[in-house]
């Protein structure tokens, strides 16, 4: 009987002890209203007031829950009044965020951060510190958008496009929908990390300008390591997207190659929308160096022709197709000239391909960085018109 009691006691004790596991959440228990959710971060550079030292200025956008429609208290407002934008400066990003925390009643929470905007000035200097801070923070999502702004990044957080309650959601949706439709490259923070780590490719990031009420995608920022070194225009970025991710890019407008007897023929433009892109990229050794051949097959729909073109005639298709092909090949040449000639960074990921197929030769190289400018790049477009819309001629 005594043994039984002892056993009962010990099992009871065990139950009590097991209940203590329920306490574990206590250190980290934070109710939703007990934390300050950061939806967007902006990183700028400022001069210190009393010394020549450069300081990092971090700005956060924090939504005010009570002012968002649908929440219990009061009618929802929106735009700039629904968020609070706060800035703080420090020696490093972590330092700036710590100083910011001193001024807040609740703990900062980055689990909902969707956009990180970095000003071009900071990016051109060095991003290493910022990237390191982002990598170390477990709350940061890898799927958030990393943006480079040509002017101050703070402006991005101050813009109010008025169409969304939380202004930064507008930016987020703009990129997300653009990426879905293939107009804007799908470059998340995680994507940037991967390209930064790999020696066979150099990272690029979306360049977005935000002023007052306007947000606009302006192309890509090119990086060499952690340092931004150049920009690609919209047209160049689309060619890059065609090659790298099979994404379609934006619409193409060219002057009509078919002479029309009509008046004002000089203003006759044809606009086509790419529907499908299929790229075959091959790398092969070429003497001491390598050659990349990209064959881009692009299927387009005609969306607008400003003058009468007879689409019942097979010939007009051929003529427009060859004009479009020429236009795209020219854009590709511009891209190659900038990337290989001017900036000397391998945004194509050619190095990864060479490493994949010619590992021995790749490892015999000094560094891919030095080799890339010597490689021969060829991009050949083949544009096919598939449909002309609801109107024949």
């Amino acid at each position: 009987m005594r043994r039984l009691r002892a056993k009962r006691f010990s099992s009871g004790l065990l139950v009590v002890l097991l209940f203590s596991t329920l306490l574990t959440g206590c250190w980290d228990s934070h109710e939703l209203e007990e934390r300050t959710s950061v939806v967007a971060l902006a990183v700028d550079k400022v001069k210190s007031e009393n010394s020549a030292q450069q300081l990092i200025k971090v700005t956060v956008q924090i939504p005010i829950p009570i002012k968002i429609a649908g929440s219990g208290g009061g009618a929802g407002e929106g735009g700039r009044t629904a968020v609070r934008v706060m800035s703080s400066t420090g020696l490093s990003m972590a330092d700036a965020l710590r100083r910011l925390q001193q001024r807040l009643n609740q703990e900062l929470f980055y689990g909902h951060t969707r956009v990180i905007a970095v000003s071009e000035e900071v990016a051109r200097d060095n991003m290493a510190g910022i990237i390191d801070a982002l990598r170390r923070t477990p709350q940061m999502r890898r799927l958030l958008w990393l943006l480079i702004t040509p002017d101050e990044a703070v402006n991005m957080l101050h813009t109010d496009p008025k169409l969304e309650q939380i202004p930064i959601v507008y930016v987020m949706d703009l990129i997300q929908n653009g990426a879905k439709q293939g107009r804007i490259p799908d470059i998340t923070l995680g994507h940037w990390f991967i390209e930064r780590s790999s020696t066979g490719v150099e990272p690029s990031a979306n360049l977005i300008r935000g002023n007052d009420e306007e947000i606009k995608w302006e192309g890509l920022a090119l990086f060499h390591g952690d340092q931004m070194i150049g920009k690609l225009s919209e047209n160049q970025s689309w060619v890059l997207m065609n090659i790298k991710q099979d994404q379609v890019g934006g619409t193409i407008t060219i002057p009509s190659p078919i002479p029309t007897p009509q008046a004002g023929a000089s203003h006759c433009y044809i606009t086509v929308r790419p529907k499908k892109v299929h790229t075959k990229t091959k790398v092969m050794p070429d003497g001491d160096t390598f050659r990349m051949q990209s064959k881009v097959k692009m299927e387009v729909d005609v969306t607008e022709t400003m003058c009468d073109i007879d689409y019942t005639d097979e010939k007009s298709f051929r003529i427009i197709e060859s004009a479009l092909t020429k236009e795209m090949n020219n854009r590709a040449k511009e891209l190659i000239a900038d990337v290989q000639g001017k900036y000397k960074v391998d945004v194509f990921g050619l190095g990864d391909k060479v490493r994949g197929h010619y590992l021995d030769r790749y490892e015999a190289l000094n560094s891919w960085e030095d080799e890339f400018p010597k490689t021969k790049l060829e991009i050949n477009y083949e544009v096919l018109i598939r449909r002309v819309g609801m109107k024949m001629h």
Partner: protein, 398 residues
């Protein structure tokens, strides 16, 4: 009074041996193997082998299957016996049983130390992940202690309960992990895994194979559970599947990791599988952030790993002091020991260093020693198959 009789009946059950079913066998092996290393494997396997890291997993899997085969051959000869009894018989003579007991003591102690140490390291790794990634403000000690408490409570139950726990949790672990690993292929990049094979990296692959083996340790718990095994035809197959299942999961995760990140990115990540889960979005799923699901599943995986090892350490300790019934204080003693072991590493880097040593120790306990025992048993012609199982067992083993 009825309570007492009920207690009696369970006690009878304990003495009349419970036989582990073949599915439970698979479950015990597989869920012991799948543990903390899932999180670090994509990094550790590609560290030296680069993009060919998955080949080292394949090699490690093949070697482990071979190890499993050796262990099966050894255990089949001693049905119904645990490691301690097997060793006593192997090393002793029939006339003087105490010789075997004394000679086998160091070997048994090695296994005890190994299992206790492993449990401590698993718990510490678990704690480190939870503290860095999820519960940032919670003290490490609390997380380690709560998990240890679970292992501790498991150690008071008999083998039947342990088998059933493993049986229940296996599917709970395997299905979500496979689903997550497969959905991670959305972001896959073929260039990152090419070339599939290159002789230039052979030394790197072999080096990584040793690391990958560490993550496939765990089937040596069989040497204790052997006392409740009936070696029929299906047992060997169940055991091999038990090793194959985690091996395939590892392969899936490592390939997904390499293809999604590339080995250079993997080398920068502390817990690559967690990052892999972070980049994965399953369309149509309610939860946008899958980390929570994954970590939940992973807690179960860690529990079955640490729990089984803790159980075995406790078991062998009791067998060593030749108690028929398990004592209550051995678990308490082990609880303290394991906690102290878990608190030994100074930091994460130190912890990974300890894991390296576990790799060497595990190689001895899982592969070398069983092989030695088998050879010894073959030389001494020790084989109890005829007595218990009859002819069918002999056929199955051949």
């Amino acid at each position: 009074m009825s309570n007492v009789t009920q207690k009696k009946s369970t006690k009878n059950k304990e003495t009349s041996k419970y036989n582990i079913t073949s599915y439970q066998m698979t479950a015990i092996i597989a869920s012991t193997i799948i543990g903390v290393s899932v999180l670090t494997l994509p990094r550790s396997s590609t560290e030296k082998a680069h993009q060919m890291g998955w080949i080292s997993i394949l090699f490690a899997l093949l070697i482990s299957l071979l190890g499993m085969l050796v262990m099966n051959k050894l255990l089949v000869r001693f049905p119904g016996k645990t490691l301690v009894d097997i060793l006593a018989e192997l090393l002793g003579s029939r006339k003087k049983p105490w010789v075997g007991r004394v000679l086998s003591m160091p070997f048994s102690l090695i296994y005890f130390a190994y299992w206790a140490w492993l449990t401590g390291m698993v718990l510490r790794t678990f704690g480190e992940v939870v503290v860095t990634a999820v519960l940032v403000n919670t003290p490490l000690e609390v997380i380690v202690l709560t998990m240890l408490l679970l292992c501790f409570s498991l150690s008071y139950y008999d083998v039947e309960v342990v088998s059933r726990v493993n049986e229940t949790l296996l599917l709970l672990i395997v299905i979500p992990v496979i689903a997550l690993a497969v959905s991670a292929y959305q972001t896959a990049h073929l260039d990152f895994i090419l070339p599939l094979f290159s002789l230039r990296h052979m030394s790197g692959i072999l080096h990584s194979t040793v690391t990958a083996m560490t993550s496939l340790f765990g089937f040596e718990v069989l040497m204790m559970f052997n006392s409740h095994l009936s070696h029929d035809r299906h047992m060997l197959r169940a055991q091999l599947i038990g090793v194959l299942l985690p091996g395939m999961i590892y392969l899936l995760i490592v390939i997904a990791g390499i293809m999604a990140f590339g080995y250079e990115e993997l080398s920068r990540q502390a817990w690559p599988t967690l990052e892999l889960v972070k980049t994965t979005q399953v369309p149509g799923l309610v939860l946008e952030r899958l980390e929570a699901v994954f970590l939940g599943v992973w807690v179960a995986a860690v529990f079955t790993t640490a729990g089984n090892w803790f159980y075995c350490a406790n078991w062998i300790m009791n067998a060593l002091i030749s108690r028929k019934k398990r004592t209550w204080w051995s678990s308490v003693l082990l609880f303290g020991t394991v906690y102290l072991i878990a608190m030994t590493p100074r930091n994460v880097e130190d912890l990974f260093h300890y894991w390296e040593w576990i790799g060497y120790a595990g190689f001895a306990t899982t592969f070398l020693l069983p092989l030695l025992f088998l050879i010894f048993a073959m030389i001494r012609r020790l084989d109890h198959r005829q007595q218990e199982g009859g002819e069918t067992d002999a056929q199955a083993a051949s």
